[in-house]
Amino acid sequence: MVHLLPDRLPWFIVGPLIGLTVVWLYALANRPLGASGMFEEVVTLARRPAEATRWRVWLFLGIVAGAAIEALLAGRPASGLAYGSLGDLVPLPLLVPLLFGGGLLVGYGARWAGGCTSGHGICGTAVGSPGSLMAAGTFMVTAILVTAGLHLISGGAL
């Protein structure tokens, strides 16, 4: 495999470039770069195609393609059925429903809160919206506590 990119670019390169990408979209279309909103747009496209904002669906597809290009350039093999320490701990027949259920919470919660890590955590926070700041603080604290709980339940395996 060819390795044209390092394994992980340093945060002080990736973070500011993500910040510029956020500004880029705001400057062009006056909209936050929120990923859960793109999921919602895909649902709208499937249900009521006339009402869907097409470019947000292109954004959705672009993220998948961009990540694929990065993985190829970094020479990283496809992750397939690997899922880190969670995949090592939980057998596949259990892992699939667990990930579906976890994904369900992600979608349900993001729809309810009106945003996720990108929409509230980066965009809303950069704009200084009090609602986004509270949402981001709440999901950060919740996720850290739930992760600590999973660590304890799994006897330190996670």
Partner: protein, 151 residues
């Protein structure tokens, strides 16, 4: 704008991949407070975006596709807290949020497709639940309560 949408998506996806947001282990290590990388990445993204957005809106920037730039700020509501508690739990279990799910799929993860399926089901389920709450017979909920259910 479709072309721009795809290009901005490419950039965002490439960066999420570069930061390895596409991996359970990286997000899990972040939430276990073992690895500061993703906090620093998010923090520096905000630190770069915030002053630039402030400057653009102060100068009355007119966007080519969405009218004048308006940075929407709103007061925290019940939905911000409750929704984020549910979201945070899912984030911790899957080690993945909506952007990370897409990056994971791009990185060739088959299990990422399962998480995406769950996320799509979850957001449609939320709409069903919200619509049911609205459709409840009037005598049981005052108008004020209806408003708070929707928000």
């Amino acid at each position: 704008m479709n072309r721009w949408g795809f290009i901005i998506g490419l950039s965002f996806g490439f960066l999420l991949g570069s930061g390895r947001v596409s991996e359970y282990q990286k997000i899990h290590d972040m939430l276990m407070l073992r690895d500061p990388y993703l906090y620093l990445m998010m923090g520096s993204a905000v630190a770069v975006a915030a002053p630039l957005l402030w400057l653009l809106s102060r100068r009355g920037w007119r966007t080519p596709f969405g009218g004048p730039l308006t940075l929407k700020r709103y007061r925290p509501a019940r939905k911000d807290y409750l929704g984020s508690i549910v979201f945070g739990a899912g984030w911790a279990i899957t080690g993945s949020c909506p952007g990370a799910i897409l990056a994971m799929i791009g990185g060739g993860s088959l299990l990422g497709l399962i998480v995406a399926l769950g996320a799509f089901s979850g957001l449609m389920l939320r709409d069903v639940v919200a619509d049911r709450a609205i459709a409840r017979p009037l005598p049981r909920t005052s108008y004020g309560e209806l408003q708070s259910i929707r928000s």
